[in-house]
Amino acid sequence: MFFLEQAWLVPLIPAVSFLVVLLLGKRLPKQGAEVGVLAVAASFVLSCGAAVQWIQRVDDAEGGAESALGGVLRAFGRSVGRMASEEAVAVVQPVTKSLTWFQNGLVDLGVGIQIDGLAVMMMFVVTLISLLVHVYSLEYMRDDRRFTYYYAALSLFTASMLLLVVADNTLLLLVGWELVGLCSFMLIGHWWEEQPNSNAALKAFFTTRTGDIGLIIGVIMTFFLVQTATGQGSFNILAVNEAAESGEASSTFLFWTAAALMLAIIGKSGQFPLHTWLPDAMAGPTPVSALIHAATMVVAGVYLGARVYPVFYEGFDIAAGGVNLMAAIGGITILVGASLAFVQNDIKKVLAYSTISQLGYMVMGLGVGAWIAAVFHLFTHAFFKANLFLGAGSVSHSGSHHSFDMKADMGGLRKHMPQTFTTFMIGTLALIGFPLMAGFWSKDEVLATADASDYRFFFILGLVGAVLTAAYMTRCIYYTFFGEYRGGDHAHDHAEAGDELVEHHLADDQEAHGHGAHAGPHESPLLLTVPLWVLSVFSVFAGFLNATAFNIEKFKEWVEPRVVFPEVIHPEFDWGKAILATALVFLGVGIAYLYYWRGAGLVDFTERSSVARAGKTLLVNKYYLDDLYTGGVVGSIKGPVARASYWFNQHVIDGVLNTTGAATAATGNLLYRYVDQGSVDGAVNGIATTTGRAGGGASLLQTGRLQFYALIVVLAVGLFSLALWIGS
């Protein structure tokens, strides 16, 4: 139980590593990379330990008291003998541990971990891929302008993602969610000197933040959901799920909670219509794209859906079949992603749109009630998509002078880069669902469940998506690995062209990797190829964990929650559907092969048909969504709307103020001039003037002449005596 109970160490170690690398990294011999690699390796080991102990826990509950390792080793053997029927499964409680974080009002908010199969699986995936990316980056990011900071950000990302995964309450999940958004921002804009990169980083942050409106509201609503059911609000995930399952909450409330959380998933997991940030996020370094935008961060939304699944299941009434918001969005996303992948010249963008499309499969899977299939697809997708991305990085590193433009700078690389070619092929086969590869098992299970659960429309949608996936990946392989090598001098011509693909080239300006001047394409060094091989192995074998055809359902056994979980359907393996799907895959590959290898049929179709051309223009312009968002929504908010508000502020509100001020001043002026100065002061001045004048008049008596004074004296005396004489 140690690894399960102390699983909080798993996010903590990379977090500490982040601080160490940030503060001390520059002084260390490998500039901090060694700390990062060791930290994530330690977390990986702990995650493996947790996985083993969880498996043991499940097996124990099932009634087998074997040693953990023995259990794992005999897992396959054991289950071959078992019938894949719906037996009553034993209840296995997740391991939880929490501390009170703080109190607010009358509520205690805790911070803690909840470890069950889902968490363990995620921990394993995140730490493994992060470790491989760390190792890969040692070579890929060598001589980068901000090597240490890059590793610090990687550590922080790993820590945040793990926090998100082990969190036992939705608030802590939100914290992790936002922090991975921050790391995504930091890493996409890693080469922020060039504006397109910082634009992409901002775009990613804004789009996911728009989705986060839903997360904030959704998390708040889960809190009150629990309050409705139990009388005391809580963010605790088990409590939330229980409340959703209990039937105490109204269906409207559940619907809106699910809808709000759905918005968060749309933003974070690149679903239509908020998917536009993902392709732009390819501006970041390729290992980052592999880690964050393929395997881990973008699946945070799917993880959220899986974690609080009862909320969605009840809220969207998934059991009913037909159509619901989640499945619809997932379905549309599959098609949008796949269609746009066709017109990309940048290999990373192809993979980005492919990721969008596969995320659509996962979300659609959740939407049709195929929980285990969706989560299983998340699991397998992480491996083969990371494989493909790191493969693309390898190609650019050693084969195309750091360009990602397939049409202009790649071609014929299978001769020069055999290992990369092989691993990339394996990844592709897994992705398109080639029989027995990982993607085959996971994707087909999604489709099978869709069909079995009354979601036939989405089943068909998924099949269409499979055809498209096969086709565009074939196209991608053709341009990259077959044909003639088009790289070499072309790469330098692009410096003047200034198209966005070259940004990757310009950005790695310190790439003095010892290629020599314009050495030809060659295979990548070990640090790049070893991770590719590791991932390829997983791409092949990971699928067998739930190879339902052979009655192996280990993944389901270990990962599917046993407590507080709705009764979902687990269809049996349907050979008919599998063959149909496989046939469609081959169809897709075949069409693409004919088109690209043989040049047959629809070559230059777009030249000849205006409809086709219009269609292609629509696709090349990404359905004009980017124009709508960046130009329309953001542009208008940032531009006219903001300016209008500010105009309103300065001219209306402040206008009122200033007019009031001016009017008051004018009134004061009038008052001053006419009343104060005129009347009141006038009176005062009048008195003074009168007094003055009187004085002036009196001064006339002062003639200065003696005789005049004498006259006055005489007159006075005369008058006086007259008065006396009259008086007596």
Partner: protein
């Protein structure tokens, strides 16, 4: 310690006054002594504050501690009544703390025209007013301290400010004073109309805040309560500032010297919101309930509108000023919900905003000092030329947009949470609509902050400044800023530091409103 219990608050409030007098006595040329006296005074005040923090009884945060009640002006029945409870404690601590940092920052940074003597004396007088407002428990005393802050700020902006300082300082002063006039009328109305002794109707009134809060507006008819609330509202809302009374803020902040902006943003704005929670809400609960939806509406408008105006700015400091309007919108929204969650969020938001926006203004001031411009079209590449400054700006930007793990989150998230379930019988639908708009406001906040950061910090430096000698953060600035940065992280990770102090008194306020309204 009885002595300390009675006199601690008086010391905290009046030590800066003593310091100001001493500064005025020192001859103008002796700058070193002036600065030392200023620093020493603020440190001593902070020392008293630390003493209070250690002596505070954390189990009785709802009770008024360190209380002192003396007769002051018997003719008008005003007493010198000061006290400290869990609501005032974080704010008082913030005030004393930030003032010290401001004095440190000013050490080498006195704006034109130099005159450290006048400048420091004004800062100290300002501190008297700020500290006093947070501990005053008598309406007249509160009013006096509330007004004391106006004059120093007026002079700071008017003398040491930017090109348009005369207009800005006058606007600030007159606008705020206008509101305060109505506030005073409200206070007087409370005195004359409230029955402080409900058993004896028509008993002579009182200015004593706890007493008024206890009787919660008995003797007042609902319409009268509303009118009085309106008067108080005007005084506080202009200070907060709430839309549409906010227009003094951008001008005042843009023109004020850096330290003036920091003090204005960090503390002066809190006087308004504090007034709401301390005075308006407890004393006039019914009016509070009637007004709450409108306050909520204005708050949400402030959030969105402030964010939109931010997007239209080209001056970095003006953008941060408008962001203050938006952030205080969150605080007021929390208050408008009349719930314990909301009020806690509001107070936390006040402290967080004080630290974060204070830091942003510090950084903007340094950027201006270094580049001699605040126009974002001329700036760029800060991370290249002054990486430490760029990192700090990035950190503050993340804190300001409410990233969890940093202090700003706990001001926003609980506020939004509380709007879902407002208290005291407030209309749920209205507040849930507010909730959606407030959540949209967080996206807009990310928008303007990151866009500002992209323009200022990312990219290459513009040709104009490409060869200029741009120096990074100086040691003095590190000393001034590090405590704030640390505190932003610490409060983000341990929000309980504030919540456990504010929880009891604010739950009290919320439940007393609910009781007064429901019963």
């Amino acid at each position: 310690m009885d002595w300390f219990d009675s006199w601690a608050l008086t010391l905290v409030v009046f030590t800066p006054a003593v310091g100001a007098i001493v500064v005025l006595l020192v001859p103008r040329e002796d700058e070193r002594t002036i600065k030392l006296v200023g620093l020493l005074t603020t440190l001593v005040t902070l020392g008293w504050m630390i003493g209070i923090l250690t002596q505070f009884d954390y189990d009785a945060t709802g009770v008024l501690q360190f209380s002192q009640n003396k007769e002051w002006i018997p003719v008008i029945d005003a007493n010198y009544h000061v006290g400290l409870d869990g609501l005032s404690l974080p704010l008082l601590a913030l005030s004393t703390f930030v003032t010290v940092l401001c004095v440190i920052y000013s050490w080498n940074h006195f704006p034109e025209p130099h005159n450290p003597k006048g400048f420091l004396a004004l800062i100290l007088v300002l501190e008297v007013g700020m500290n006093g407002t947070f501990v005053a428990e008598d309406l007249i005393l509160f009013f006096v301290f509330f007004e004391i802050v106006l004059l120093p700020m007026f002079f700071m902006i008017g003398v040491w400010g930017g090109p348009n300082r005369r207009y800005a300082s006058l606007k600030f002063f007159l606008f705020t004073l206008f509101g305060s006039a109505f506030m005073l009328i409200g206070f007087l109305a409370l005195y004359f109309l409230v029955d402080v002794n409900p058993d004896i109707p028509g008993q002579q009134g009182s200015f004593d805040i706890p007493l008024l809060a206890q009787v919660a507006g008995s003797g007042l008819v609902a319409s009268t309560q509303s009118w009085i609330f309106a008067g108080l509202f005007l005084g506080f809302a202009i200070k907060v500032p709430m839309f549409p009374f906010h227009t003094w803020l951008p001008d005042a902040h843009t023109e004020a010297p850096t330290v003036g902006s920091v003090l204005l943003a960090a503390i002066l704005l809190k006087l308004g919101t504090y007034g709401f929670i301390r005075i308006s809400l407890p004393i006039l609960p019914e009016a509070a309930k009637d007004w709450a939806p409108w306050i909520g509406l204005l708050a949400v408008i402030g959030i969105i509108y402030g964010a939109l105006c931010c997007l239209a700015q080209t001056d970095m400091k003006r953008l941060i000023a408008f962001s203050s309007v938006a952030h205080m919108g969150f605080v007021m929204l929390g208050i408008a919900t009349l719930t314990d969650f909301g009020l806690n969020a509001a107070v936390f938001g006040m402290v967080a905003h004080g630290l974060i926006t204070g830091m942003l203004f510090f950084v903007a001031g340094t950027v201006q000092h270094t580049y001699h411009t605040r126009e974002m079209s001329r700036l760029g590449g800060l991370l290249t030329q002054a990486p430490h400054l760029g990192w700090i700006l990035g950190f503050c930007v993340m804190a300001s947009l409410g990233l969890p793990g940093l202090a700003g989150f706990w001001g926003e998230f609980p506020a939004i949470l509380s709007t879902f379930d407002p208290g005291a019988g407030l209309p749920e639908e209205t507040f849930r609509t507010f909730m959606v708009f407030a959540a949209i406001g967080t996206v807009l906040a990310a928008g303007y902050l990151l866009w500002m950061y992209q323009r200022v910090a990312f990219g290459e430096p513009k040709p104009e400044f490409a060869d200029a000698h741009i120096h990074d953060v100086t040691p003095v600035e590190w000393i001034a800023w590090t405590p704030m940065l640390v505190l932003i992280v610490v409060l983000g990770v341990f929000p309980n530091l504030i919540f456990r102090v504010t929880d009891a008194p604010l739950t009290e306020v919320a439940s007393s409103i609910a009781a007064a309204v429901g019963g």
